[in-house]
C-alpha cells in the first residue's frame, strides 16, 4: 500500500508545482513590475512593514530578521528562523533556509543584491508621501502573490475605514507639527518627508509650510517649536521606536518653550505608537494602529 500512496503524493506535488509554474505573474514592486511564480511556499522577509502585512494575511513566514520591533510580531520569533538583521542578512542562514522568495524593503532595500544571490528577491519599499495608497496597493499585491485575495480584501476594507475615520477626525482641527525626539534633541518633519503622508494623505495642514524634505528631518531648537506655535504636536519617540528604553519624548518636550505653544496648553499632543510609525509604517496592522492613534488623539482633544 505504501508504494501507490507515495506515487499519489508525488503526483499531487507535481500537480501543485505545475499549477504554480503555470501561474507565473507580474507583480508591482518598488523597482517596477517583476515576474514571479505564484504562491511561493518558503518566504524570508527583511522588512518589518512587509512582514506586518504578510503576517496579517495569514501567510506563514519562514525567515525573519533578528529583531521584530513590534510586540504584535513577537510570536514569529518562535516559529520562524532568524536569517540576519534588517541591515545585514545572514546569507548562510538564508541559504540553509532555501527560500522561494525574499522580500526586502526600506532599511533592507540595499541588501537586495546580496539576497538575490540566494533566491529571487523583491523590493517592496513603501515611500513616505503616498504611504496609504502604497500600503493598500501592497496588500492587494501580496494577496494575489500568496493566493489570499479574500483576506486581502478584508484588510483593505478595514484600512479604508480607518483612513476615512482619521480624515474625518482631523478635519478642521488646525495645523500640526511632526516632531521626533532623539534623547534630549528634537527634529521636525514636513510634508515632503517620510512622515509627510500625515499631511498629504490625511489632510492635516502643516504648521510650517516650507519645512525641508530631509529624510532624517531637520534638527531644530525648542525656540523653533515655540515660534511655529502649532495647534497640534504629533510626536514620535525614536528611542522608544528602537526599543532603547531611553529618556521619553514627554520629558524632552516638557520645557518652558514647548509649554507655551497652543498645542501643549490645550493638551493637543499626540504620541504615536513609535515602532509602528518609525519602523513599520506601511504595514497593514501597524498603519491601522497609527490611524487609530490619530483618530483618538484628534477626537479626544476636540
Amino acid at each position: 500500500m505504501k508504494f501507490p500512496l507515495s506515487i499519489l503524493a508525488g503526483s499531487v506535488v507535481a500537480l501543485a508545482l505545475g499549477t504554480a509554474a503555470a501561474s507565473a505573474t507580474d507583480i508591482e514592486t518598488a523597482t517596477g513590475a517583476v515576474e514571479i511564480d505564484r504562491t511561493p511556499k518558503t518566504i524570508a522577509v527583511y522588512d518589518i512593514a512587509a512582514l506586518d502585512t504578510i503576517n496579517a494575511l495569514g501567510v506563514t513566514v519562514a525567515g525573519v530578521p533578528d529583531r521584530l520591533f513590534l510586540p504584535e510580531l513577537q510570536p514569529l520569533a518562535r516559529t520562524a528562523e532568524v536569517v540576519g538583521t534588517i541591515f545585514e542578512p545572514d546569507l548562510e542562514a538564508l541559504n540553509a533556509l532555501a527560500p522561494d522568495l525574499v522580500v526586502v524593503g526600506g532599511r533592507s532595500a540595499r541588501q537586495a543584491s546580496e539576497t538575490a544571490r540566494v533566491a529571487q528577491t523583491i523590493d517592496m519599499t513603501i515611500d513616505g508621501t503616498e504611504l496609504l495608497d502604497e500600503t493598500l496597493a501592497r496588500i492587494e499585491t501580496y494577496g494575489i502573490l500568496f493566493g489570499k485575495e479574500d483576506r486581502a480584501e478584508t484588510l483593505a476594507a478595514t484600512l479604508d475605514e480607518d483612513i476615512a475615520e482619521a480624515r474625518a477626525a482631523v478635519e478642521g482641527k488646525g495645523d500640526a507639527l511632526i516632531i521626533m525626539t532623539n534623547g534630549p534633541k528634537i527634529s521636525v518633519y514636513g510634508p515632503g518627508t517620510r512622515f509627510g503622508w500625515l499631511h498629504s494623505e490625511l489632510g492635516i495642514p502643516p504648521a510650517v509650510d516650507d519645512l525641508g524634505a530631509g529624510i532624517h528631518g531637520d534638527a531644530v531648537s525648542f525656540e523653533f517649536v515655540a515660534s511655529a506655535n502649532p495647534d497640534w504636536l504629533i510626536v514620535v519617540d525614536r528611542a522608544a521606536a528602537i526599543g532603547s528604553g531611553e529618556q521619553n519624548a514627554r520629558a524632552t518636550l516638557d520645557n518652558v518653550l514647548v509649554r507655551g505653544t497652543k498645542a501643549w496648553s490645550e493638551g493637543h499632543v499626540i504620541y504615536l505608537p513609535a515602532a509602528d510609525f518609525y519602523i513599520a509604517a506601511g504595514g497593514a496592522d501597524a498603519t491601522g494602529r497609527i490611524l487609530k492613534a490619530i483618530t483618538e488623539g484628534f477626537t479626544a482633544g476636540k
Binding site: N182, G183, V220, A226, G243, Q247, G260
Partner: protein, 327 residues
C-alpha cells in the same frame, strides 16, 4: 616670537599683547551680543525677555563653558603628552566618554544626565591614562608619531564603542547623542557644564606646576614637583571636561587642538600667562561656530561639531603649513 620649549619671560612684557587683548575683548563681546540676538524666536514680542532668559542666555553660556573647558583640556593634555598635536576629542578621551555613556545607557537606561556624565568621566579617565601610558613608549625624537598614534588610538576606542553600539542597536542613537550640538540647550538642561568653569579655575590654580610638568619627568622631579600627583590631577582635568561635555552637549572636535596650539605659538608656553587667553579663545571659537550653526540653515540647526570640524580642519592646516616665527 617664541621657541616652543622652556620658560619664557612674561608675555605681559610684550608690546603687542595689550592691543591683542583689547581686540579680543571687543570681538568676544560682539560674539556674545550676536549669540543673544540670533535665534528662531522673536525677541521683540511679548515673551522676549523670557526667551532671552530660558533660551539665549543658557545657549550662550553653554557655548562659552564648553569652549573654555575643551581648550583648557586640550592645553593640559598637550602638556601631559608633551606634544602640541593631540587633543582629548581625537585622542580617545572623547570616544572613551562615549563608551561610558553607552555602558550607562545599556546598564541603567533611565539614568540621569549627571550619572551618565559620571560614567563618561570615569571612562574618559581610563581611556586617557592608557593613552598617556602608551605615548610614553614612543621615541621622543619622533614628535609626529604622537598625533598619528593619537588618531589610531582614538580610532580603536571609537571602533570598540561602535561595535558595542552596533550589537545593542544603539548606533544611530549614540551618533545623535554624541554629535556635538547646542540645539537642545535651554534653562535647566546645560547647568552641568558649570563644572567646566570650576575646572578652568582649578587649572589656573595649578598652572605653574603644569608648566614645570611640561619640562619632562626628570626636570620636574628635580624641581621638587610631585610628578605622580600632578599627572593624576592633569588626567582628572581632561577626563572631567570630556565627560561632562560629551554627556551634556556631545563631542566637539578641534577646539582643544587649535586653540592651545595657536595661542602657545604666539604667546609662549608659560601656562599661567596663556591660560586665560586659551580659555577665552576656546569660548570665542565655539561661540562663533555655534552662531554659524544657527545661521547657515536658518531656521534649522547644524551640529556645531560639524561646523567646528570644517573650521577647525582649515585652521589646523594653516597651523601646520605656516612656519613658526623665530626670534
Amino acid at each position: 616670537m617664541s621657541v616652543p620649549t622652556g620658560l619664557h619671560p612674561s608675555p605681559r612684557a610684550r608690546p603687542g599683547l595689550r592691543l591683542d587683548l583689547a581686540a579680543a575683548i571687543v570681538l568676544f563681546a560682539a560674539l556674545v551680543v550676536a549669540s543673544l540676538l540670533v535665534g528662531v524666536g522673536d525677541l521683540g514680542g511679548a515673551g522676549g525677555l523670557q526667551l532671552l532668559v530660558v533660551s539665549r542666555v543658557p545657549r550662550t553660556l553653554a557655548a562659552i563653558l564648553t569652549g573654555a573647558g575643551l581648550a583648557i583640556a586640550g592645553l593640559v593634555m598637550q602638556t601631559l603628552a608633551k606634544n602640541r598635536f593631540v587633543e582629548p576629542m581625537t585622542a580617545g578621551t572623547g570616544q572613551a566618554a562615549g563608551l561610558g555613556i553607552l555602558a550607562m545607557t545599556i546598564l541603567a537606561p533611565g539614568a540621569s544626565i549627571a550619572l551618565k556624565s559620571l560614567a563618561a568621566t570615569v571612562a574618559a579617565f581610563a581611556g586617557t591614562a592608557l593613552f598617556l601610558a602608551l605615548v610614553r613608549r614612543l621615541p621622543p625624537t619622533q614628535p609626529f608619531l604622537v598625533p598619528l598614534f593619537a588618531i589610531v588610538y582614538g580610532g580603536v576606542v571609537g571602533a570598540v564603542t561602535t561595535a558595542v553600539a552596533w550589537e545593542t542597536d544603539l548606533l544611530q542613537y549614540l551618533d545623535i547623542w554624541t554629535n556635538g550640538e547646542f540645539s537642545a540647550v535651554m534653562q535647566g538642561r546645560y547647568e552641568l557644564l558649570w563644572v567646566n568653569a570650576a575646572i578652568v579655575a582649578a587649572a589656573w590654580w595649578v598652572a605653574d606646576r603644569l608648566t614645570i610638568l611640561s619640562l619632562g619627568r626628570d626636570t620636574a622631579v628635580g624641581l621638587g614637583l610631585n610628578y605622580a600627583v600632578m599627572l593624576q590631577a592633569g588626567l582628572a582635568i581632561v577626563a572631567l571636561v570630556a565627560g561632562v561635555t560629551v554627556a551634556t552637549v556631545g563631542a566637539i572636535p578641534f577646539v582643544g587642538l587649535v586653540v592651545p596650539a595657536l595661542v602657545a605659538r604666539r604667546y609662549g608656553e608659560d601656562v599661567r600667562a596663556v591660560l586665560p587667553i586659551i580659555a577665552a579663545g576656546g569660548a570665542g571659537l565655539v561661540l562663533a561656530c555655534d552662531l554659524l550653526a544657527r545661521v547657515v540653515r536658518f531656521p534649522y540647526e547644524l551640529p556645531v561639531g560639524t561646523v567646528l570640524a570644517v573650521v577647525g580642519a582649515a585652521v589646523f592646516l594653516a597651523v601646520i603649513f605656516a612656519r613658526p616665527r623665530q626670534t
